[in-house]
């Protein structure tokens, strides 16, 4: 699509971070206190300007509904957003997200959740959007860019993001995450250097079922966002992580790449490695790099990507940010620091540092 006027004139947020993820391959439920304790252990990786969690498998009663989490400046913002939702969706449930008052969490927004399904009779303006997921994304964009004071920060099925301004343990307290159990958890502690805290700017960043926690700075952001604009994704959130989410959506959902190949687009093998590959792989990776060069994520990063099928961890191709993987029975941990894993699970079957650019993909069984 045509780039909006002055699309080049953007401010981007810069931050360092701590990340943690855990998955139970057999969908066994993991209590919220595990990721909370692990994130609290990495307290010093953030500065209190952003923390959050994503949890999968938390809404079994509404598993087939889109769970929208909204944060709104005030009741008027929520009302306006609800109007939009009513137009495009059937609302099956609408309730405040349970919270506690926490001293250190100042001026929290109104947080609300809706369980939605797409209306059979789509409104005129989105009637031509046949793909259901495209439809959902369009409505999310409509609210996030068109409804002042309202922001959808989670929109997947049987999953949810919980985030805001504060240390992750404060956010966990605020959202009462100790009361949830999930088969995948990711957590994030943020150290932004230049933005005033904005609740929507915290991680995890989500789109549909995708949730991403990210430690790093994407130096290729400038071209990534222009490439995404060509594919009709407009980056508005002033954060690197947004491009990761949109790129995953583009590469995996729209272009049909596997997670592994998408990881190879983000952190491609070097040309001298490609030169040593078999002819078949040489052609594959040359083609991938030639076509998706603008989607490469350059700069230091460690990311955890979760969706309803599993958890993936990935480093940049010269491993400029820490990422560790550990296994215990059916659980796999991914973390910035080993201490966080050891705290919640002292006896591990194995612990290793994945190689630069080599994705670690853990899929849920059945």
């Amino acid at each position: 699509m045509k780039a909006p006027e002055r699309y080049y004139d953007f401010q981007k947020d810069i931050s360092g971070c701590g990340i943690f993820g855990v998955i139970h391959k057999k969908k066994g439920l993991i209590k919220g206190e595990i990721p909370i304790k692990a994130m609290a252990c990495m307290h010093d990786r953030g500065n209190g300007l952003g923390g959050g969690f994503a949890a999968y498998g938390i809404y079994p009663d509404h598993a087939d509904k889109y769970a929208f989490h909204l944060m709104c400046d005030d009741q008027a913002g929520l009302d306006a957003a609800e109007e939009v939702l009513k137009r495009y969706f059937t609302i099956h449930a609408s309730e405040p997200i349970p919270t506690r008052r926490v001293l250190s969490v100042k001026n929290p927004p109104v947080v609300w959740r809706f369980f939605l399904s797409v209306k059979r009779e789509k409104p005129q303006d989105l009637r031509e959007v046949f793909d259901e997921k495209d439809y959902v994304v369009s409505v999310v964009m409509k609210i996030n860019t068109g409804v002042p004071g309202a922001f959808v920060f989670s929109s997947g099925k049987n999953m949810g993001a919980f985030k805001g301004v504060g240390f992750p343990e404060d956010m966990a307290e605020f959202y009462r995450l100790d009361e949830y159990s999930a088969y995948i958890w990711t957590g994030h502690n943020r150290f932004p250097t230049n933005t005033p805290g904005w609740w929507g700017g915290a991680h995890p960043f989500t789109l549909l079922d995708w949730s991403i926690v990210h430690n790093g700075e994407i130096s290729s952001y400038g071209i990534n966002r222009r490439f995404l604009c060509e594919h009709s994704y407009i980056c508005t959130l002033m954060t690197d992580t947004e491009v990761v989410a949109y790129l995953l959506d583009l590469l995996i959902r729209k272009h049909g790449l596997s997670k592994d190949l998408a990881a190879k687009v983000f952190a491609p093998p070097f040309w001298d490695e490609i030169a040593r590959m078999s002819d078949e792989d040489k052609e594959l990776y040359t083609t991938l790099r030639a076509v998706y060069g603008p989607a490469m994520l350059n700069g230091p990063f460690a990311i955890l990507v979760a969706d309803n099928t599993g958890l993936m961890g990935l480093n940049d191709r010269i491993k400029l940010r820490p990422l560790l993987v550990a296994e215990k029975d059916d659980m796999v941990f991914m973390s910035s620091e080993e201490s966080a894993v050891r705290l919640v699970c002292p006896k591990l079957d194995s612990v290793w540092m994945p190689k630069a650019g080599e994705p670690v993909i853990v899929n849920l069984e059945a």
Binding site: Y8, I223, L261, T287, V291, P294, G299
Partner: protein, 511 residues
Amino acid sequence: MLFQPINKNYHDYRIERDKDLCINCKVCIRQCAYEAHFWDEARQKVRHDNTKCVGCHRCEALCPTGALCIRLNESEFRPNACWRPIFMKNIYKQADTGGVLLAGMGSPVDIPVYWDNLLLDASQVTNPSIDPLREPMELKTFLGSKPDRVEFAAPAKGKKGKPKLTTKLAPQIELNYPIMFSAMSFGSINFNLHVAMARAATELGICYNTGEGGLHKSLYKYGKNTIVQVASGRFGVHAEYLNAGAGIEIKIGQGAKPGIGGHLPGEKINEKVSETRMIPVGSDAISPAPHHDIYSIEDLHQLIFALKEASRYRVPVSVKIAAVHNVAAIASGIVRAGADIVAIDGMRGGTGAAPAMIRDNVGIPIELAIAAVDQRLRDEGIRNRASIIAAGGTRCSADVVKAIALGADACYIGTAALLAVGCTLCGKCYTGKCPWGIATNDSKLSKRQNPDIAARKMANLIRAWGHEIEEMLGGMGLNSIESLRGNRDKLRAVGLSSTEMDILGVKHAGR
């Protein structure tokens, strides 16, 4: 000196000869192709005629005792902001000759050089800079059309295995550096330099462009690193030629002279040029202003596919245009017409000969053109269908980096390559008397260029720039050139208006 014609009175240079140092060895006489130095039989010493000096500095460089110094003629007219000396001198010349003012090399006029107003970024603290001496740093570049997406066939039902790649990449030119030697025809520069460019390009793993003068048969062996050009004169174009290189370029225009053709004077057409261009010795080689089979974009479409047919779709086809006012729309049309590469030549691009009025007044700077074209192609969702090459006025590796950050895939360098072999930008290429042995086919002069040395210098230049580009990339926290391409966030402007920044798509420094 009233007995001289008026234009001789106001010559540009003065030759200073240190009498104590000069040993009358006559080297300057032999070196000067313009006969500015001469032997005075009566006085038994070397003397000179300042009016003939073109300021090429050849004599100064070769004087064994360092007795010579070429200076601007200090003689000054009454200051006048409007009637600057160049305009006055031009009028004197034209009053004498009644002719069109000719000029060589890129335009020296004082239009903004936007490169100088763009500054690059570097990493500090929040992301680590990368040291290219310790970490891999990738400059490899592929020129050619890329598909919208990569497609795979899933493995057959019940079978395990990786999905199989079904996308076949269109033909690409693979470059080890995002830099190529620009089109300089055999004829406009001599054979020795074509040999040098071919060898340097081969050694470096880049390409050089033949220009419109055909390809001498002894250079076919460098075909993998050659882009063969097809221009309006169609000199030296035949089936074998079209299949000799790694790419074919249709030259529509040139930055130094948009909208007009070319003229290689008969004096430059020697045996070798004649056989390569397929024209008689001594005849003028005139390229018409338009291709007489391209009067519209649909004609270009036909020529692009005629050339693809002729080369059996083995190589990408490039279309080179001068940067003119509507360059973005034109480039879009060219991509839609099937070009795999669009080369854009800015108004500071070099030339062997161009009318001075055209060179100095027609076209737009390459920085604005690249920015506009890249943005337009992205807006239309066709940026991936063609690569963009920036040409015209690339002076250093930082210019290359800035061009790529604005959106170019690679840069063509012409003037810089000639400077590497000794050119001093005196701008008299059209005389055919280049004392440095570059823009001349006079065997006495052209032998001043040794192909081995010239190839080494050209290769050195690109390697040096390559190192610098790696340093700049690493400083920005990038380790691959594709993450810089179109990454305008790495640029900031200083001293530009908001309109200029809007066109360039960059923010002002400090923001």
